[in-house]
Amino acid sequence: MKGDRLVPESQPERTALRMVNIEKYFGSVCALNSINFEVGHNEIVGLIGDNGAGKSTLVKILTGVFPPTSGELYIADKKVDTRSYSVKKAHALGIETVYQDKSLGEKQVMWRNFFIGREITYPLGFLKVREEKRIATDIMVNTIGFRGKGIGVDSKANKLSGGERQGVAIGRAMHFEADLIILDEPTVALSLKEVRKVLNFVHKIKESGKASIYISHNLADVYEISDRFIVIDRGEIVASIVKAKISLKELDEFLLEYSHGLKDKVQP
């Protein structure tokens, strides 16, 4: 299975992300154990795993929310100092994240939500509100496609539907020109139509030559958009399967049998 990696490691600028022996302990609890995986520069990787498998811990490490206990992290083939790595640095290196529910400040207006953490400022840190509003309007109308409906840059996030919120988070990720977009359960609270919009967006990531890690419980969604699936369980990567080698049904069966403890017999 490890041989299924799409990209040979020797070529420069070919992986968007590579993790080598990443481990994470919370106190004495091992959340991640020797994680080795990579994402090609134009690859969509579906990350699959049960609740508590370690998916969000993995996401938080690679987006700089907290550092790993040990291991190496490469972004665009350049080694990252995990001690000084941060969300700001992840942003600077072109990594954007769309969370299920942690993407927007509920009581805050749209233009603040677009630029939180990387505001456009005058010297001394005062906000260029006019410019932020102008760009936020542009993203909302042209990228996300909000038209009228009384929602604009001065609307608060809690006035938006779940799909509109994800639209904003995704539009924000696109605006900041990410090379790797991580979508962490982006469709959980969405209607079918809104889920379709999110999936179309992931297709767009692929077309524009960028990479993505897509985390979802919905296997059909993951299967449709991913080039490769990584299965994570109890803090370890247990399988890495390219899409061409497995059908949705087989993937489903594999996961079912795996969760029933039959994993040793099934090695696709």
Binding site: K60, T63, G64, V65, S86, V87, K88, A90, H91, T97, Y99, K102, S103, L104, G105, E106, K107, Q108, R112, I116, G117, R118, E119, T121, G125, F126, L127, V129
Partner: protein
């Protein structure tokens, strides 16, 4: 429908408008019930003298509450900074050094609060409750329980600058506190620091994943509040020319009340600096106003409680949406033909 909304909707965007109206109504009531006091300028000059220390404290507390935290220790900073200033002034006759050291003492208290809350994750209500007792204790101990008179401070420039009387009547501290309100409005609403505070108060986890250093920001926040509280202590000490070790006691609840009736959300994520300004003047005017009406001392607290409750209720009902709803309702019983009203001289109008 549409014209009605657009005509009045802007009212909902004026910050602190409901609470400014409460203040206005309050003064109008006082003018009618206590005309002898409230038609002269003296009572207002006295408010401009007594409200500023409270307002300055409330400005700092607005940040704290917006961040979803609380600080109970600022009254102790009022005492500590007052002591540091008076002691340095009395011992070395160095008012400006005393001034800076007093601010530094506030910064120290605030920084330690910040460490307790952000680093050690002690809930701020517990951490600052403890530090309030501790720093009052420290102040009492080093002051030997005694008050310090500094009558001769009135001759210094620092006294003239901060608490002098402009044109012989207008208290300078009113201008300083107004300027600070404006300055910190910009910090809260138009600066990355304020934006970080707002998002942390809204949802610290969102702030963290969006790249805000939550821990560092919280430490800065408490340090800043310490400095602001120390400045309030200085205004108080300079105004009364005397330090006493229990000064600041009794300010905790009125200052909190001023922030809350101003519309700042206890849940965090929303700070209304203009509301804090008007709220402070409401709280600071109530007692004198009610006493001046002559209804009797036993009524004072009851009326204060009523006005506070009314202000808070008004803020809850009249959010941004509330006002646009009101304007819609207003349009229904407004004159049916707005054209005629707009051009009263037009013969064909009505």
């Amino acid at each position: 429908m549409k014209t009605g909304r657009t005509r009045f909707a802007f009212l909902g965007r004026i910050e602190g408008l409901p609470i400014a109206m409460v203040l206005l109504v309050l003064y109008i009531v006082f003018i009618f019930t206590a005309p002898r006091v409230f038609t002269g300028y003296r009572i207002y000059m006295s408010f401009f003298q007594t409200v500023p220390p409270m307002l300055v404290l409330a400005i700092g507390l607005t940040f704290i509450i917006t961040a979803g935290e609380i600080d109970l220790s600022f009254p102790a900073v009022v005492a500590l900074s007052g002591f540091v200033f008076t002691w340095v002034f009395k011992t070395f006759h160095a008012p400006w050094i005393g001034f800076l050291l007093a601010l530094a003492s506030g910064a120290l208290v605030g920084y330690l609060n910040g460490l307790l809350v952000a680093r050690l994750r002690v809930p701020s209500i517990m951490a600052t409750l403890a530090t309030q007792f501790f720093w009052y204790g420290v102040t009492l101990l080093i002051a030997g329980g005694l008050q310090i008179d500094i009558q001769n401070v009135t001759a210094t420039a620092i006294h003239t600058i901060f608490v002098g009387r402009l044109f012989g009547v207008f208290p300078m501290q009113a201008l300083w506190s107004l300027a600070l309100t404006a300055f910190f409005w910009f910090i809260l609403n138009r600066h990355t620091f304020g934006e970080a505070i707002i998002f942390i108060g809204d949802n610290a986890e969102v702030a963290r994943v969006m790249g805000i250093n939550v821990e560092k920001t919280r430490i800065k926040l408490f340090t800043m509040h310490g400095v602001i509280a120390a400045f309030a202590g200085l205004l108080l000490t300079l105004e009364i020319n005397v330090f006493f070790p229990t000064q600041g006691q009794g300010m905790l609840l009125p200052v909190m009340a001023a922030v809350f009736i101003g519309g700042t959300s206890i849940a965090g994520g929303l700070g209304v600096m203009a509301g804090t300004f008007f709220g402070s003047y409401i709280i600071g005017s109530l007692e004198a106003g009610v006493v001046a009406t002559g209804i009797g001392g036993y009524w004072v607290q009851l009326v204060e409680g009523l006005v506070m409750a009314a202000s808070v209720i008004l803020n809850v009902i009249l959010g941004e949406e509330g006002i646009s709803l009101l304007s819609r309702a207003a349009r229904k019983w407004a004159v049916p033909s707005p054209v005629a009203v707009d051009r009263p001289g037009d013969p064909g109008g009505a």
